[in-house]
């Protein structure tokens, strides 16, 4: 095992794994030529828009579309009656109507569709649809969802999933007991590229859909169900994706655009504005958490108890899996003797919640890390030592009894961030360095500096027995005299750089320079979702396996042609080499006019369901660890925060593209900082109050501090190349570190996230 700190040298080398290969789509993206889903255009296309419910809960008594249909330029108006297949979709349970038929269950639920020759014509026509609503009482307090007299969101009751986890002695004694309640607000993924797609009818009753998404095949399954068509007649191609972060796991425009295209016989483009985007995708679950830790007087943890309620909103989406993470990983990367955890995911008439980067670990980390700091204070340790002392190590069992069977460097990670140099005090003469900046809010009288730490771990890949696989097709042939590899998967590139990694793997395994990544579509098998930090691991594993199959076939061919033994032959530099490195033949000559193609379905080690009574089991395939240290200046009189430094250390197993790894860590850290300090979808009585970038605040370049990143590479022996998922841990440990730093500066408990100015000032 080696630990290295990447200084990210700016070299591209030969573009193999471990190097900072540049993105193949980089040039197109800086020139404005890259085709995002919202850029798509087709001759004769019309625009589709969605009419959404203004009520969190209402019965639809009738819909009159006549006036909308009469608007010049309108080509179609559709309601639930026009859904030819099953009027239902959903990631895990098909519980959500494509268009509401009799009841709407959240503000923003789609009710009708309009197609017209201009988007504004379509929007105006949609406003002329008369929907007769009978407003019903709405359940908007998730803490009341399981009360007997609560309104029922669905006939089966308001519980999506209860995870019960018990381990060790029930109710053990501990000399030191600390507890707290923490609440985390609803975060939005806020990808910049709005939900968009283009549906093109094929003239034979089928449709081609070009759409921004995270998982083409799970989309295809749902679209087919709603259209009543077989998969061969509903073909999906990935359009350019402007960020995802979990918010594109569920369907948005998909079925709607296809319905309009099949009805009008014309290509239909749909593209949400920002306000509709806030209604058009799931958010991160808000959480209410009650936590208790018991410890010895030296700070060694004895027991952990947690009760967490996650508001799933009106439909199931991925709530059950989020509950799974909030439970199985819900006490953080620490050793406990005894554990009692209950997590409830509930239905309400609030906006549906589902996947977002960090997936159930982000919310619980705020509680766990705040409580660890409280424990440290109670036993007289500092925040670094309490984590160092209790952190998981390789070979330990976590709270579901699973052995952590590769690196678990909790102690090292917190030590590393603690050892990084601290930033100097703010320059008192530069107002830009103060909280409030040039707003002339302070001359620094009430500014206090605080430092906070947090550490986390997160599962990589899909868990609890899910059949998590990816498919890769690799083809090697001679083009213009040169061997060229083509890599074809259905994996969604959403910005993270998977296309680069696919090229790097193919170059490494096949010893060629030129690698083409074929556009992702459903003509090849499923790659699984671009989520759970899993694609480099799983699709990377599939691409490597397909390359190995191609290489084996080529070498067999070379052995026959050259009349040598196949053992020891290898490919490099476009040549077939002997074991001693001697060049035996040009790869182009061995291939001739033939293409060698292999398709491989690749799986990681299986995971297992957890025991329904105890929550015990080997639920996860891999864990990824990170630690953050935040340094903040807080104006304790005005409640303003400036983050001065946000430094991190993370074990990535092996960095296939070190620059891209660091980029993921930077971006993930920013999203955690955002949740700690500013990002919240404010929902009152079931209504979203801030569906815009004016009122939903994202960190700007002025809000982000310089970030020092140390990347450790403790290879996971069970994973391809030793990789470990990268994308999510930074989003989990950054926010709690920022919150801890603000607490340290102002001395208040700050148990509600995001922290607001009035929480800091206590006013």
């Amino acid at each position: 095992m080696t630990a290295t700190t990447t200084a990210a040298p700016a070299t591209t080398g030969t573009g193999r794994i471990g190097e900072n290969a540049v993105r193949p789509d980089g040039t197109l993206k800086v020139t404005g030529e890259f085709a995002y889903a919202s850029d798509l255009w087709h001759d004769d296309m019309v625009w589709g828009v969605t009419l959404r419910s203004p009520h969190p809960h209402a019965r639809i008594r009738g819909i009159d579309v006549a006036e909308a249909l009469a608007v010049p330029g309108v080509t179609a108006v559709l309601t639930a009656d026009d859904v030819p297949g099953e009027n239902a979709f959903g990631l895990e349970h098909a519980d959500q109507p494509v268009l509401a038929a009799d009841v709407v269950r959240y503000e923003g639920e789609p009710v009708a569709l309009v197609a017209a020759d201009h988007p504004e014509t379509a929007r105006r026509a949609a406003r002329r649809i008369r929907v007769d609503y009978e407003v019903l009482p709405a359940l908007t307090d998730p803490l009341r969802a399981l009360d007997g007299d609560a309104p029922q969101v669905h006939p089966g009751g308001n519980l999506v999933r209860h995870l019960r986890l018990r381990r060790g002695e029930p109710r053990p004694e501990a000399p030191v007991v600390v507890s707290l309640d923490v609440e985390v607000g609803m975060q939005d993924q806020a990808f910049l590229g709005p939900e968009s797609g283009l549906a093109v009818p094929d003239g034979e009753g089928g449709v081609d859909l070009y759409v921004a998404t995270q998982w083409l095949h799970v989309d295809q399954r749902q679209v087919c169900l709603a259209l009543g068509l077989p998969p061969e007649r509903v073909r999906l191609t990935l359009a350019g994706v402007g960020g995802a972060f979990g918010g594109r796991e569920d369907l948005s425009v998909h079925v709607h655009a296809c319905l309009l295209a099949l009805r009008t016989g014309r290509p239909v483009k749909m593209s949400y504005g920002r306000e509709e985007s806030f209604y058009g995708h799931v958010h991160r679950h808000p959480a209410w958490m009650t936590y208790e830790f018991g410890a010895e007087r030296d700070g060694t943890l004895v027991h952990g108890r947690a009760r967490t309620v996650l508001d799933g909103g009106a439909y199931a989406s991925s709530t059950a899996a989020v509950v799974g993470n909030a439970g199985t990983l819900g006490l953080g990367p620490y050793r406990f003797g005894s554990v009692e955890v209950d997590v409830y995911g509930v239905f309400t008439h609030n906006p549906p919640c589902g996947a977002m980067r960090g997936f159930g670990c982000v919310q619980t980390a705020f509680a766990v890390e705040a409580l660890m700091d409280r424990l440290a204070e109670a036993v007289g340790l500092d925040p670094v030592e309490i984590r160092r002392r209790n952190g998981l190590r390789e070979g330990d069992r976590n709270i579901t009894g699973q052995v952590v069977d590769s690196a678990a460097p909790v102690a090292e990670l917190v030590e590393r961030v603690a050892a990084m140099p601290l930033p100097p005090p703010a320059d008192p003469g530069d107002p830009r360095a103060r909280p409030g900046a040039v707003g002339n809010t302070t001359r620094g009288e009430g500014v206090r500096r605080g430092v906070g730490y947090a550490v986390t771990y997160k599962n990589v890949g899909f868990s609890e027995g899910f059949d998590d696989y990816s498919t890769a097709r690799v083809r090697l042939q001679v083009t213009a005299g040169e061997p060229v590899a083509a890599v074809h998967t259905a994996a969604a590139e959403v910005g993270q750089g998977l296309v680069t990694v696919q090229q790097q793997i193919a170059r490494t395994e096949l010893g060629v320079d030129r690698v083409v990544v074929v556009p992702a579509d459903t003509s090849v098998g499923s790659a699984g979702s671009t989520s759970a930090s899993r694609q480099t691991y799983v699709t990377g594993g599939a691409v490597r396996a397909a390359c190995e199959a191609v290489r084996a076939a080529v070498l067999r061919r070379a052995a026959v042609a050259l009349d040598v033994a196949v053992d020891g032959l290898r490919l490099d530099g476009g040549k077939v080499l002997a074991a001693d490195g001697a060049v035996l033949a040009a790869l182009a000559d061995v291939l001739g006019d033939d293409a060698v193609e292999e398709t491989v379905e690749w799986r990681h080690r299986p995971t297992h369901a957890i025991d329904p009574e105890t929550g015990q089991g080997d639920a996860h395939v891999q864990f990824a660890f990170s630690a953050h240290r935040a340094v903040v200046d807080v104006d304790v009189e005005l409640g303003l925060v400036k983050v001065v430094a946000l430094d991190t250390a993370q074990d990535v197993g092996r960095a296939l593209n070190p620059d891209a790894v660091v980029g993921q860590i930077h971006g993930g850290s920013a999203q955690g900082l955002g949740l700690a300090l500013m990002e919240e979808v404010v929902v009152t009585d079931g209504h979203v109050r801030n569906p815009s970038f004016t009122d939903y605040l994202l960190p700007t370049v002025l809000d982000m501090p310089p970030m020092r990143v140390e990347v450790l590479e403790y290879a996971d022996p069970h994973a391809p190349y030793g990789v470990r998922g990268v994308g999510e841990p930074p989003t989990i440990s950054s926010g709690p570190a920022v919150a801890a730093a603000v607490r340290a500066a102002c001395g208040r408990p700050l148990t509600r996230l995001p922290i607001r100015p009035e929480h800091i000032t206590g006013t």
Binding site: K29, E120, G242, D659, V662, M704
Partner: protein, 158 residues
């Protein structure tokens, strides 16, 4: 209405423009220039940044009719003649790893291009101020800052 405007050095005309359309819509949907992006359409994210008569603007906040007879330069117009070669700012974004999903990139490239035209060697606080109107959700801005510093160094010939 009819709008005639010079875009990236070429006079262009669009007919049947609805008065409520923005410059962003005109560029993207009528003139075939989708480089400027539609992320918020209310001037908060900077993804639609273009030059209007040499000043950077959010094209979503400019009515299409307002640009009649004026000059617009978009991210597509920053490359060399005939699209040959990247502008140093564009090249620096690629080289520094400042591009992930890339949806903010065209707006940031134009904003950085404008900054370096005005201030060839900006200090970090100046870069941050100049880019404060451009949201990025992927990068945490660190590599975007690297890109601007790199472009400044290269333009200064160092």
């Amino acid at each position: 209405m009819r709008v005639t405007v010079t875009v990236n050095g070429t006079e262009r005309t669009a007919d049947d423009v609805w008065p409520g359309e923005s410059l962003l819509y005109l560029l993207r949907e009528r003139l075939g220039l989708p480089g400027a992006k539609n992320a918020c359409e209310q001037g908060e994210c900077g993804s639609c940044t273009v030059y209007l008569d040499g000043e950077v603007v959010c094209s979503c906040l400019v009515a299409a009719g307002q640009v009649a007879g004026r000059e617009v330069t978009t991210v597509e117009g920053l490359t060399g003649a005939g699209g040959a070669g990247l502008h140093p700012v564009q090249q620096a974004f690629v080289d520094a790893g400042a591009v992930q999903c890339g949806f903010c990139t065209p707006g940031l490239v134009v904003a950085a291009h404008d900054l370096l035209a005005r201030v060839p060697e900006p200090a970090d606080p100046e870069i941050r101020e100049a880019l404060a109107g451009n949201l990025c959700r992927c990068t945490g801005y660190e590599k975007i800052l690297d890109a601007v510093r790199l472009a400044a160094r290269r333009q200064a010939g160092r």
